[in-house]
């Protein structure tokens, strides 16, 4: 499924007017989300939503066609022992693996997301990054996960970061663009907010927390700040932007808390794979195990859930 990307005017926002963020206050709000008790039918519904929002990911130097084909198999058949499950939202791979994924997912309504722009460091030339983007799209990627130039951002070269996103968005054509902020390298929640505002004004269809290659990856705190930025941007422009926390969300309980946070910050319209994704690999099996437990009353061994 690929949505026609929405065209937006690109004007550099005034980063001096971005709201301050109080880290203690953010921690307290997060703690309240984590104290929500999600049980019974609402738990089952949440777990199924989680599964449908996963970008099943493999981004390793040792990825091979065999690995990617088996991952795609998992994307389609999460757990056939339990009928009525959704499939994942997307498979996420390196550009050179996009063709393999496209072939393996033929006939299935699963997105093919490709990283690009010298993932994960972003340390390369503009030309190389745009070429890589175009190559991935040509090979069949319906979504591009780019990284911002953190070095340039931290050095205050905001126009450079902005222009780069605009250029990548153009190179995407019809593919949807996710912009990875790499929040673990930004230092403060204030900067996470600024980077979010910058990325959205530059045309991001999604803003994403992390590459998953460094610590810390996604946290509820940075995700909350980004969700609040999305909300303010929506109020200002009328344009919806999606959110993808990535890395470090390996258990279903945490993922459900993210859904609580999403619901109470942005509301019902964002609670679909169209606007929210989990960048994860082992989350799927924990969610499946929890679903099986809800329906059978017992926990099965991890060996019953395929590791592809």
């Amino acid at each position: 499924m690929s949505l026609t990307a929405v065209k937006t005017p690109n004007r550099m926002p005034d980063l001096g007017r971005v709201a301050a963020v109080d880290e203690v206050g953010v921690d307290e709000r997060v703690a309240r989300f984590q104290s929500r008790s999600i049980k019974k039918a609402s738990k089952v519904e949440a777990l199924k939503m989680v599964l449908g929002m996963i970008d099943l990911t493999t981004l390793e130097g040792q990825d091979t066609p065999g690995k990617v084909r088996q991952l795609c198999q998992k994307a389609i058949h999460l757990h056939d022992a339990m009928p009525g499950l959704p499939h994942v939202a997307a498979v996420c791979v390196y550009p050179t693996m996009v063709g393999i994924a496209k072939e393996a997912l033929q006939g299935h309504d699963i997105n093919i997301a490709s990283v690009a722009t010298a993932f994960p460091s972003g340390m390369s030339s503009r030309e190389v990054k745009l070429d890589e983007t175009r190559m991935a799209v040509a090979a069949g990627a319906t979504e591009i996960d780019m990284v911002i130039s953190r070095g340039a951002f931290l050095a205050g070269q905001y126009a450079h970061v902005f222009d780069e996103i605009v250029a990548v968005k153009e190179a995407c054509g019809d593919a949807r663009l996710k912009v990875i902020l790499e929040t673990g390298e930004l230092g403060t929640l204030d900067r996470v907010r600024s980077a979010s505002v910058l990325a959205m004004h530059a045309g991001a269809d999604f803003i994403k927390t992390s590459t998953g290659k460094i610590q810390p990856a996604a946290t509820m705190q940075v995700t909350l700040v980004m969700l609040q930025a999305i909300k303010d941007y929506y109020r200002e422009t009328g344009r919806m932007v999606g959110m993808k926390p990535a890395g470090g969300i390996s258990n279903a309980k945490l993922a459900v808390h993210y859904l609580v946070m999403l619901r109470e910050t942005l509301g019902a319209a964002w609670m679909t794979p169209e606007w929210f994704r989990f960048g994860a690999s082992s989350l799927a099996n924990d969610a499946l195990m929890q679903l099986m437990k809800q329906s059978t009353g017992v926990y099965q061994s991890a060996d019953y859930f395929s590791k592809d």
Binding site: A20, V26, S37, S42, E45, R263, L266
Partner: protein, 490 residues
């Protein structure tokens, strides 16, 4: 650019299933006597009254109505315990009893939390995570002071006052009992305490803990009753020290009654705190601070941030975000773990709040409430804000004691300060800004006993709490709280 249909709706789609806390494990007797001299005993006139669950108006139990004679008995028992075992006991041993009470509150925490929510209406999440842990913490903290009083007041000798008569309110029943009893015992006093008439149960469970802890008979006496019982305690000639938390009106009456007597007293009364948001605040977190300040515990908080003063340049944004946040607040069964706002404590209080909603509208204020559903029976009030009100509005001046916020704008720091201080109350206040120098300047100018910066409603046993002006006199908590329960000699 035209904004298409508003996508920011919190209704519809995924909702939270009921997540009720179990009540199987609690024990509430059909009827409770008065806890005097180590035992529960029948009231002299044999009169009892019901205590209800405000969430469904069902009767939970019957408790005794203490008469003057019963109060006499209690004070006599307290006096006997004071001159007898309690003042003769080594301070360290006194401390051990208080530690034991603290420990037992922790052990029975779940039962205390559930009963607190049933009797008073506050959400189980609050009683479980805030009220009960803080109550235990107060006993732990003051237990440690029992044998260190000579270090608390350097160069002075601290002596107990004698019998303390204590009257507490219904908004934090167990916590208020611990705020009163713990320091009194630590300093070597004995106690006669009356819980509020709508929330007697956790005080009576505390009496059971005290009996199980083996505290000598008469050291703590808990007598239930209404206004007359409270008056009897406070004016009793056998009481050396009075501690009262409640309304400013009653505080005035008590102060009049005690004028010219030898009784020492502390009064913790009402408030109408200003929560002040500057344009350079972390806006999203400040909105959360507003919500925390006025909606949690149903606004039944003396230090509630019941007035919002928001800098005019960000007022529209703040109010819009506040309305969004209000839509996500869940009003409902206090025993549901997802409930944010529980039941209003009593029919009387609900009627009082509703009368203010009418007053606010009739004085020209614009009222906005969240759209949440309410349970069919019980006492409920949706989170409410008033805009278009000013210093001369009654909803801005008077304490409503409900989930009702009055919103005003200001332009400059001076104007904010003037408005914040233009009230006979002076219990608390809040300041929201990202600029450190503004915090210092503002907090030094606000005339209130407890001021929070970039946060709200933070309590700790080590931190003194109390008001300026008509919010009362004296402090509870910390060293200051100790000082209220001793007389100092050279």
């Amino acid at each position: 650019m035209a904004i298409p249909e508003n996508k920011l709706a919190f209704d519809g789609g995924w909702n939270y299933a009921p997540a009720p806390e179990s009540t199987d494990h609690i024990v509430v007797k059909k009827r409770y006597g008065l806890f005097i001299n180590g035992d529960f005993r029948a009231p002299e006139k044999g009169r009892y009254f019901d205590t209800l669950n405000p969430a469904n108006e069902e009767k939970l139990s019957r408790v005794a109505m203490a008469s003057q004679t019963d109060v006499d008995k209690a004070v006599k028992a307290a006096r006997k315990a004071y001159t007898g075992p309690w003042s003769r006991m080594k301070a360290k041993e006194r401390g051990k009893y208080i530690f034991r009470i603290a420990r037992m509150i922790q052990e029975r925490a779940r039962e205390f939390a559930v009963i607190e929510s049933l009797d008073g209406g506050k959400p189980i999440r609050e009683s479980r995570d805030v009220d009960v842990p803080l109550a235990a913490a107060h006993f732990f903290y003051y237990a440690g002071w029992a044998d260190k009083l000579e270090y608390a007041f350097p160069g002075r000798k601290a002596k107990a006052l004698g019998v303390a008569g204590q009257v507490i309110p219904w908004n934090f029943p167990l916590l208020m009992a611990s705020w009163k009893i713990a320091p009194a015992l630590a300093c070597g006093n004995t106690v006669v305490l009356k819980p509020a008439e709508t929330t007697p149960l956790t005080a009576l469970k505390l009496a059971e803990v005290i009996a199980d802890a083996g505290l000598p008979d008469g050291v703590v006496n808990i007598v239930t009753g209404a206004g007359d019982t409270g008056a009897a305690i406070v004016t009793h000639p056998g009481v050396d020290k009075v501690a009262f938390t409640g309304s400013t009106n009653v505080g005035r009456i008590i102060q009049k009654a005690l004028a010219g007597t030898n009784k020492k007293y502390t009064l913790e009364l009402g408030g109408k705190a200003a929560n002040i948001i500057f344009a350079d605040a972390a806006i999203d977190q400040a909105v959360e601070g507003i919500v925390n300040g006025i909606f949690f515990n149903q606004g039944h908080v003396c230090c509630a941030g019941s007035r919002l003063l928001v800098q005019e340049s960000v007022a529209d944004e703040v109010i819009e975000k506040l309305k969004d946040r209000m839509e996500t607040l869940i009003v409902g069964d206090p025993l549901d773990k997802n409930t944010d706002i529980g039941a209003i404590n009593s029919r009387m209080q609900l009627e009082k709040i509703e009368s203010y909603l009418k007053i606010g509208q009739s004085e020209g204020g614009e009222m906005h409430q969240s759209s949440c559903s309410l349970p069919k029976s019980g006492y409920w009030c949706r989170p409410t804000i008033f805009t278009g009100v000013s210093q001369s509005s009654r909803v801005v001046q008077e304490e409503i004691f409900g989930p009702v916020l009055a919103i005003q704008t200001f332009r400059t720091y001076d104007e904010a300060l003037t408005k914040a201080n233009n009230t006979p109350y002076g219990l608390s206040g809040g300041v929201w800004t990202d600029k450190g120098s503004k915090i210092f300047k503002m907090t030094q100018g606000i005339r209130a006993g407890v001021i929070w910066a970039n946060t709200f409603n933070k309590f700790d046993p080590t931190s003194p709490f109390g008001g300026y002006k008509e919010s009362g006199m004296g402090r509870e908590g910390g060293l200051h709280g100790l000082g209220a329960y001793v007389k100092l000699e050279a």
